[in-house]
Symmetry: D2
Subunit: 271 residues, 4 copies
Amino acid sequence: MTQLPDPGPDDPASSEPASRDAADPIRVGVLGARGKVGREVCRAVSAADDTVLVAEVDADGDLDSLLAGGAEVVVDFTHPDVVMDNLRFCVDHGIHSVVGTTGFDDDRLATLRGWLAEAPGTGCLVAPNFSIGAILMMRFAALAAPHVESVEIVEVHHPDKADAPSGTAQRTARLVAEARRAAGRGPGPDATTTSLPGARGADVDGVPVHAVRLRGAVAHQEVVLGGLGETLTIRHDSMDRVGFTPGVLVGVRTVGSRPGLTVGLEEFLDL
Amino acid sequence: MTQLPDPGPDDPASSEPASRDAADPIRVGVLGARGKVGREVCRAVSAADDTVLVAEVDADGDLDSLLAGGAEVVVDFTHPDVVMDNLRFCVDHGIHSVVGTTGFDDDRLATLRGWLAEAPGTGCLVAPNFSIGAILMMRFAALAAPHVESVEIVEVHHPDKADAPSGTAQRTARLVAEARRAAGRGPGPDATTTSLPGARGADVDGVPVHAVRLRGAVAHQEVVLGGLGETLTIRHDSMDRVGFTPGVLVGVRTVGSRPGLTVGLEEFLDL
Amino acid sequence: MTQLPDPGPDDPASSEPASRDAADPIRVGVLGARGKVGREVCRAVSAADDTVLVAEVDADGDLDSLLAGGAEVVVDFTHPDVVMDNLRFCVDHGIHSVVGTTGFDDDRLATLRGWLAEAPGTGCLVAPNFSIGAILMMRFAALAAPHVESVEIVEVHHPDKADAPSGTAQRTARLVAEARRAAGRGPGPDATTTSLPGARGADVDGVPVHAVRLRGAVAHQEVVLGGLGETLTIRHDSMDRVGFTPGVLVGVRTVGSRPGLTVGLEEFLDL
Amino acid sequence: MTQLPDPGPDDPASSEPASRDAADPIRVGVLGARGKVGREVCRAVSAADDTVLVAEVDADGDLDSLLAGGAEVVVDFTHPDVVMDNLRFCVDHGIHSVVGTTGFDDDRLATLRGWLAEAPGTGCLVAPNFSIGAILMMRFAALAAPHVESVEIVEVHHPDKADAPSGTAQRTARLVAEARRAAGRGPGPDATTTSLPGARGADVDGVPVHAVRLRGAVAHQEVVLGGLGETLTIRHDSMDRVGFTPGVLVGVRTVGSRPGLTVGLEEFLDL
């Protein structure tokens, strides 16, 4: 069939995976469509072959346009103050959601899980990071960490960044530390007896993390791992903010077949 | 208990996992003990806390010393001409084996599988590569390949190497290609219209592979992967031949709990 | 003094280095001011403390506005068809020039040299590349090349690039080859006997050059050099097109004190 | 001529550059010939086409064997306690020297300079580092430092190293800082307001230095430099201790044509 389905605002059921033809593009609504990130999402959804942008809603926009457009999946990059209302609306109307908005603590996740339990078939992905490269880097670092003696992290960012080390570096260090503890691995060997203050980096859960601030850099991170006679380096270079859009599209394509709440895009990557 | 068990040559049963005390070091025999590689294995087995070297057999040595020493696990870095006889002996005596000797084709693996089927509880690991770093690199490359647009491989070796690209690079390329095919991914984008011959590397199953030959280098490989706005690099640096010994020890520690034939150390790494 | 000098269009002499106060910002006119590159130049000139933008001229603009603004230095990113007329005008009025426009062959350079010979005190910089990082990379590669056994080049660009290897990589290779010849060094050692076609890269004047095409990459190049037991890597990462503006500013600040024709920004970097 | 000259112990003049035939191999004596380093020097001198090993002297050896062998150049990797006596002997007999022994303070260098002033035509090179790669890295870092906004250093060593950062990293940082001061450049930009202790590395003369300790690593250092939109990385990888021998040979080949005292091999590299 070549004709798009005509869902109509009063027929949200037509957006359910069960009734959709795999050859149809996925109908996507974007919330926060005028924000920096939302704009890129709109562009990416329009450019992809298998998705179609059916609604763009901004700060004072009307969620009903999602229904009018027949949105099957909503992408939400809005604000912690409004995201829960947005998601309540989506769940009520059986619209799947892919959420990059921040501010999700355990309470919010529990609430969301409760709503979804009453809407079987509806999926929601909440993810703090949509960079596929960053997710792979963190995952591989955690997978490799139990098999080597040493792990350290070096991140490099532009010099206008306020925090050091980066949140991603700290998160990576914690995943590495956890994986090593689970495998009964202690901290890496280090015979340093004479050191200038700071030379050996910050200690994040036992993993040394070094932060470089460099004009010309964007956002880069290297996890270096070492065993007898060999080293392994996993490096992620983020050159451009658009790097998150392929991850959003993975979310959009997958969320319809994963009912309930999913936290973290890595769950959709089959690693 | 601090005393080593005295299994005696006529009591091979004592080497079975079920009856061994986890606190006892694993009793290891090394075949090919005077070769370059075997020597390093002997050193590593002796140095580790949880293994003990109980037999060193070389070219014209006697396999019965394995029994005399009460070997539970044998490490075989010998020669394709003798390895099958060695393994026949091991399987017959319920000794697990970790094999780095080359020359295993499908026929040999089938034969070996047959022998092991009749010796329940006995395990054998045949692996072409014991470098944990190289194995992780290949595994991560294959895991990441379906999630990016582009994958290329750059390997760097000392200039005395006869083949280009390296066997590891070719193997990585094939694993990457296979993973992409399985995910329905085609070759990476490439708008090159004007090119000097060789500039874009060798084509290995659709994956471009570049081989650098550099004095001072040992054995290095980088898998570079790229998606919109970001790149991921997985790099392995092999600095020293001893880099394979931690992998051999993983084999020695694990093979006793994995009856039957295992091909490839990656199977023991829980990736 | 806080007031800008008022040179007036009929007093170009006031722009000569001898008469200018070092504390005054340099008065800069930009030709090609509405082009992609020219726009960035205008922004950079306006942003810097020691330069002031006094004229912006585009395709159908009037060069007299340079005089009206009292331009001491002109930056020309225009078109091969008009650049010579622009420079004739500048030389006639004693205005120094920094030129990134392409199309300068030996004839044009000779003509320009002739004009400048008759305008003592006036300087002109013609440069094919204003990236300071790229210039340093090429210079260091040439300086190091005679002191090592092996040199190869790996460049990585976005996959929409039409030529492989890049012009910069080819130019680097030629500089390396020249430096090695001058030092009596032959090609690097290479024992390869079995090779897949293309594996060892393109041969540019005896230097192997490898071109990687990767989504997410911008423009990157690595010169790898190796001697017994050690390697040296010189890597340039160009992340953003604005990377050429610091080089243009170096040109603007220096050209007034270098009368005559200078080819290549490297001449101003005191390497 | 194919016959080696027969200088005889009483004819040191024959070793002077003026009288030697460029086609003759340079006659080299090694002091400290049985030490780890001296042994490698002996091997390298014997292996090179243009040098010949004519004397090997160890701790309790006799310096007269230098004369008996007709040494033109001596390489000294001995001990601070004996090196001055060795050099007194060499200068007295018109033998050039290449010295890697440590412990040269200003007093010793002044003494040495005095001796050489009275032995015109005799050269002596005292160098703390014979790794050509490390010397090039430091030199390039200093050359580039004035032309960029940011410079930081990341060094990676095996985990048995006692000091952090390495001496080479600290020396590089000081050279970078000096070059920036001379060019009127301040410290790199850094907007960090929230930092874990140590994250931003050690401050060496205003240059952040980060020390990674990694099993499998040998000795590696990266100087990262950044300007608007681009970065430059200069990386040195030392894989093997023999990496210093090409530098010693450069010293041996050059010292005869550089009378007087030279401090630092970089002086012989024409950078």
